[in-house]
Symmetry: C2
Subunit: 456 residues, 2 copies
């Protein structure tokens, strides 16, 4: 199946000002998940916009921000596409560094500024507007669309997985088009077939009820030493994970996946220079670093504290010690598996005095190579930008992709291109190129067409 691109493009031109007005309305409504500011109002705005497409829309309350769920397109379509976006944004802090008001869309020199223009209101609305343009210029949508727009992505989607599990039957689909994305530093579209999961824990150990004089060290337990010993059993000095059973859950990669990883362009020299590093960990080659970066699970000390850490010397035996660990998870690990293995591993070694506090987690998402959504995205990339995307078997970062892909056994593609290398998501002066906003509509239409037409 193809579509009438001239008519589609003409519609975009014709409705350009209204589309930007609508974008201004989206940006003008604060919707900060961190303090729930405006999330209800934003959910309403999104629902309203969906209804103007003729969608069936439900606003699902959750313990946090509501989930806006829209279905549209023919009920008897051969294929169903899930689309994921989020309507919440990062806080505007530090607000004094913004050159324009964060919650006002400002167009300047071909750029669009405002909180959320990139992450993720630009992708969300440009996709909605693409669907409108399709309907108005092509007629019936070529697929059934199930659109999930959550409002807590920026706080780790704490309620999404439970909502998905409660509506698994409703959410059946043949593929998921993820949130969106952008160009890398060499202006190549970056797409991905998944992302690592994450589990974040705080471990604590207590000793005496007060910091003691360190002369008592031979007879009183030191919680800082306890943590050090426990940690040293999780990963050896070669940076190999030694947590009992952890690596048993890691699914091996196939040749195609390794080849895809090896093909990812990374600016190794520039990265080292930017970070002041002479070499990668363990003097790895760039090639080995790329493979390890993309493919391996991690256990990372993000922070550790105990006792006296000011200037000079203070001879204390600390009352307490704390470490923050993040586990980056690859398939088929899950946060729950990580937590259980960690508890068992520590208990087995006598570290029953170390508590583990759950601070959040998301499973890893992984799709097979050459899935329907991947092929549709590749083809749509060529149509839209005349470029092959750089295809990550998965991203080393984490996100809520797991719930709407791996959990439901739906192949997923992280694709779209509203971000550019200086787009500043999560920072002041978040911006996208005007050109990319409208290209996103063209990409969306092409994706719909290919997703409907490609062989299974």
């Amino acid at each position: 199946m193809s579509y009438q691109t001239d008519a589609f493009n003409a519609y975009l031109d014709e409705h350009r000002d209204r589309f930007l007005d609508e974008f201004g309305q989206f940006i003008g409504q604060p919707s900060v998940a961190a303090d729930a500011r405006g999330v209800q109002q934003m959910a309403e705005i999104v629902a309203q916009r969906f209804r103007r497409l003729g969608a069936d829309v439900t606003i699902y309350p959750t313990p946090g921000s509501p989930v806006v769920y829209a279905e549209l397109g023919p009920r008897d379509a051969a294929r169903t596409l899930m689309i994921y976006n989020h309507y919440d944004v990062q806080p505007e802090d530090p607000v004094e560094l913004w050159e324009t008001p964060p919650f006002e869309m400002v167009v300047k020199d071909g750029l669009i500024f405002g909180r959320g223009v990139a992450d993720d209101k630009g992708e969300l609305l440009s996709r909605i507007q693409a669907v409108e343009a399709w309907q108005q210029t092509q007629g019936e949508l070529p697929v059934r669309i199930k659109w999930v727009v959550e409002g807590e992505e920026e706080t780790g989607s704490p309620n999404l997985e439970a909502w998905v599990r409660a509506h698994a039957e409703m959410l059946r689909a043949d593929g998921t088009l993820w949130e969106g994305g952008g160009y890398d530093e060499a202006d190549r579209p970056m797409f991905g077939l998944g992302c690592k999961g994450i589990a974040y824990f705080e471990l604590r150990c207590t000793g005496p009820n007060q910091d003691l004089h360190s002369s008592y060290a031979p007879m009183v337990k030191n919680p800082a030493w306890r943590l050090v010993w426990a940690l040293s059993t999780l990963k050896d000095a070669g940076d190999n994970i030694t947590l009992d059973g952890y690596l048993d859950h890691v699914a091996p990669l196939g040749d195609e996946e390794w080849a895809a990883i090896d093909a990812i362009p990374m600016e190794f020299e520039a990265m080292r220079r930017r970070w002041g590093l002479d070499a990668w960990l363990n003097d790895m080659t760039d090639e080995a670093a790329r493979r390890r970066y993309i493919s391996e699970p991690t256990i990372t000390i993000c922070g550790i504290h105990s006792g006296y850490t000011g200037d000079g010397s203070k001879t204390v035996l600390p009352a307490e010690a704390m470490v923050k660990l993040d586990f980056r998870l690859v398939a088929n690990l899950t946060p729950k598996i990580a937590q259980e293995l960690l508890r068992q591993h520590l208990d087995r070694r006598g570290f029953t005095d170390i508590s583990i506090t759950w601070l959040g987690g998301e499973g890893p998402a992984r799709s097979p190579v050459n899935s329907l959504p991947e092929r549709a995205a590749r083809a749509a990339s060529l149509d839209t930008w005349q470029k092959e995307p750089v295809m990550y078997p998965w991203f080393a970062g984490s996100g809520p992709m797991y719930s709407l892909s791996t959990l439901l056994d739906i192949p997923v593609i992280f694709a779209g291109c509203t971000w550019h290398p200086n787009t500043r998501i999560h920072s002041p002066n978040e911006n996208i190129l005007m050109r990319d906003y409208f290209d996103s509509m063209r990409f969306t239409a092409a994706f719909l067409a290919h997703f409907a037409a490609l062989e299974a």
Copy 2:
């Protein structure tokens, strides 16, 4: 040799008010080593007081506070006694918790209040006044006295060892009477034959030049992990020191020393209750805890810090990690040995990227059991208080004792009793009992007599 105790005691009664006036002058002169406040003036006051005993007095400048050195008594005496005291005091902070002005001696309900009444101006002046009383009631001193009064004890005596090394010949003696001391919680005089040394280091490791997103953990060195791995090679999970070569320097204890340790009364149950502990480290018995507390060297994590340690989660790979370690040293370890062994140990395991910064150190002091000063102190304790002292083979804490004992091969006794269990050294409302101030003079006289008369 004995002395005329009635005459001696009568002299104390007769001169009681003047002695207390002099004490008031000592307390009234601030002499805070931490900010060098008043140390020159205090050194002058001490020197002046020595001169009134007929002593030869020299004020030796150092890079910090001066050392006041006095010699007195017959040059042809059969024995020479070194006495150590210090004229500096701890800062008066937090000053708002003092119920009387810190630098004013206040007598109330049988107690004497003021900064330094216990640590160490009370011992210093009561010993000087004892010498005066001896001279006035007994005549010639029974021994030659070499009296070292330093002014930086409260800041770790950073210049004492170099001064001692430069004057080793001048400082020859048959025994050293240390600073002073006090009663334990069961009103037993606590004496000691030495103390542990200390070495304090800060270890640092750096990674990237900024905290990175933790997704880069597979390819970028994490300095927090580096420190954890390095630390875990210094001491095993059973709390056994595994630093290469460290224990080889520890001199074994003899049966007499073990017996002396076993005889030390400790309030184990009260200590556990006060510190909220169910048990000692590794479920040791009280007896084992006492032996370990007194006899073993330590490596203690006093503080550790890296990365994000605030509330909640932050997924960073830290730029830097730091740990503060104190090593409590028993004979024949020294701070220099500890530092060299630590550097070699880390280098041997590839931890050349971990820096070691010296933050201070003092060697351990250890005297043989039944030395002349020990026997003189025991006898003087019986004379003065009709009690056997509790004799520590060494104290688990640290101090500058090494320089004036082990370094010069002079046996030492930590003895005296101006402190009581609520004496609050280093704290607001430092105080001693009036009774103990004058008893200290009696103890000093008895010690001089026995030190001169006992068999070698």
